[in-house]
């Protein structure tokens, strides 16, 4: 590991701030994530894992506190810069996959590359090789809705990886997978870790955090970090 990649200082997040249905999702989170590290955010549902993952991935802004990614404070950056950071730095795998179900697999993987200056043939080639890497090339022209849960998960990872991001964020990656598919996914993540990629996983699945491939495990409850364990 070579230094701090992400710094989080006193981050809190409120949803519907000032409204009767205000929800405090995170309180005073402070942590650092090193380059090439595999980090697991562990905790029950509603503990704030997904919210923290969203804040790290520049998908939302903290109500309080500061987040620094690669030395750049991102918490108050204008949307345009955040988009750029999201595209170049992060690959996000959502719990519900968030695929566009009525387009083909290859089109789903091509999505992050559409607004770039790359030629269509080039982005198609890149998306194809990504599908190949995750064992989905035979179904490249099938609609995403025709896939099984495990295949959708692999497709979501392929889409997250197509921009070759430095940091991969996964939200409950085994939530919709059976034991066999979960095992397959974890092997895949191990190989991504071996590439030197930083991986942050939010999960409450023992299969993931007991496997022992994470460098550190942050235990979360009620929007706060209650403990850290790790190698």
């Amino acid at each position: 590991m070579k230094g701090v990649l992400i710094e989080i200082e006193g981050v809190s997040k409120l949803y519907n701030q000032g409204m009767p249905d205000e929800v405090r999702a995170l309180t005073g989170i402070t942590m650092q994530i090193m380059k090439g590290e595999v980090v697991i955010l562990k905790g029950p549902s509603g503990s704030g894992k997904t919210t923290l993952l969203s804040l790290i991935g520049c998908m939302a802004r903290p109500t309080e506190g500061r987040i620094v990614v690669k030395g750049r404070a991102v918490s108050r950056l204008p949307e345009r810069f955040l988009t750029d950071i999201r595209r170049k730095t992060f690959g996000f795998v959502f719990q519900e996959f968030n695929l566009i179900m009525d387009i083909t697999l290859i089109e789903n993987v091509m999505l992050p590359l559409y607004p770039t200056g790359m030629r269509y043939s080039e982005i198609r080639l890149r998306a194809s090789s990504m599908l190949d890497r995750f064992g989905l090339s035979e179904k490249a022209d099938h609609l995403a809705r025709s896939l099984s849960g495990g295949q959708k998960q692999r497709l979501a990872i392929a889409r997250a990886m197509v921009n070759d991001p430095e940091i991969l964020l996964l939200d409950e990656p085994t939530a919709h997978l059976d034991a066999g598919c979960s095992e397959e996914l974890l092997n895949m993540l191990s190989s991504l870790r071996d590439d030197g990629r930083t991986i942050i996983i939010a999960t409450h699945d023992p299969l993931v955090y007991e496997r022992g491939f994470a460098d550190r495990i942050f235990e979360m409850r009620d929007g706060m970090i209650r403990g850290v364990s790790g190698r």
Binding site: T51, G57, T83, F92, F94, L111, Y114, T116, G117
Partner: protein, 388 residues
């Protein structure tokens, strides 16, 4: 170059998105196409009709003098011609003999006219003009409804209900057919007998003037000298046409207003109602690295393709409806009394300003109502949009 590639890929994705939501988009296209077709039909019809009338009146006499009795048009004594001929600036004075003939068999109204040098600007399709008693030339509309051709005979009832027969020697055609379509041309003697016009009387008098600028002056002088006459200038007839068709199209547009509003509400609802799925998709695009401007561009292309397709299809349907099918849905209202005439086809005149107006009425508002809700979703954090 990179930017061009980027735009073309977003356009590709927009077209793909339109096909993905084909049911919703098809219903929007149908509604907007109908709307455009109705509006363009009204505009094409009134403009073309007006242009035809204006074009034909270019050949019309500069000044016509009618006699008025009890506020109504009455026959005029040919003696008046001598008085008018005496005015300085008048180059020619010609009597006209004409009237309307209602044909019960075809439920049509014809214009019957006596031939002389006042009848000008009539192109002949084939045959010749009547030169002796018992001959006639017909407008193509009359020939059509009466199933007549050169050599056949036309039968009319005179004012005493006696049957009169005329041999068809020519069939008219002009570019527009508006003037000659319902025309039956007879010799002067035949028309006088048909309508029982007493000797020494005419239907009206055509006055030719050397200097066009002097027409109002001469008209005024005729009115003063012959107080029971009504001089009608060409410019007044033009003005009447302008007013008539402006009023008719306005009335037509008003009649369609309620359906326009209903259509617009439906279209607005369809276009602006961003479904949960569409919102989620915007969130996904943002999450994978699309900028707000990329999403707005995507929505712009979607709106442009849908509204432009509707606009072009609707305009073409309007064109075909008016100029190929004879505007069966509009003519009863817009033509008014002239529905009694034999039918005729309008010549396509298109006013580019009307097309541009239509474009701004259909395309621009649609793009705006498509972009605004998407913009609202696109400026939110992706996490918030996806969570809904």
């Amino acid at each position: 170059m990179d930017q061009m590639i980027r735009h073309s890929k977003i356009l590709d994705f927009a077209i793909m998105s339109i096909f993905r939501r084909r049911l919703k988009n098809l219903s929007i296209v149908i509604v907007f196409t109908l709307l455009t077709a109705i509006l363009s039909s009204i505009l094409f019809f009134t403009h073309s009709f007006k242009m035809e009338a204006v074009g034909l009146l270019a050949d019309a006499p500069e000044l016509i003098v009618q006699r008025v009795s009890g506020g109504r048009h009455a026959l005029i004594a040919e003696d008046y011609m001598e008085v008018i001929r005496g005015f300085y600036g008048v180059s020619d004075v010609i009597p006209r003999y004409w009237g309307y003939y209602f044909d019960r068999a075809t439920d049509s109204n014809y214009t019957v006219m006596g031939i002389n040098r006042a009848v000008s600007g009539l192109g002949l399709l084939r045959g010749r003009l009547p030169s002796q008693e018992g001959e006639c030339a017909l407008g193509s509309g009359v020939a059509e409804v009466k199933h007549l051709d050169i050599g056949k005979r036309l039968y009319l009832l005179d004012s005493r209900r006696r049957v009169r027969s005329y041999r068809v020697v020519g069939i008219f055609d002009t570019l527009s057919r508006l003037l000659t379509n319902d025309l039956i041309l007879l010799t002067e003697d035949d028309i006088k007998e048909l309508f029982d016009i007493p000797s020494g009387m005419a239907t009206d008098i055509v006055v030719a003037v050397n200097n066009e600028l002097e027409v109002p002056y001469i008209a005024g002088k005729i009115k003063t000298t012959l107080p029971d006459t009504r001089p009608i200038m060409r410019s007044e007839i033009l003005q009447t046409y302008e007013t008539l068709f402006g009023w008719r199209s306005g009335m037509m547009l008003s009649m369609f207003l309620s359906s326009l509003v209903a259509f617009s509400i439906l279209a607005w609802d369809k276009a602006t109602g961003l479904s949960a799925e569409e919102r989620r998709e915007i969130g996904i695009l943002k999450a994978v690295g699309w900028e707000t401007s990329d999403i707005l561009e995507l929505k712009f292309w979607e709106g442009l393709v849908i509204s432009l397709t509707s606009f072009l299809t609707g305009t073409i349907i309007g064109y075909v409806h008016v100029f190929f099918l004879g505007a069966p849905l509009l003519s009863p209202v817009l033509k008014g009394w002239s529905v009694l005439f034999p039918s005729f086809d309008l010549i396509p005149y298109i006013n580019p300003y009307q097309i541009i107006t239509l474009f701004f009425l259909i395309v621009i508002p649609y793009i705006a109502v498509t972009i605004i809700p998407s913009w609202r979703a696109a400026i939110m954090d992706p996490d918030e949009v996806i969570r809904g």
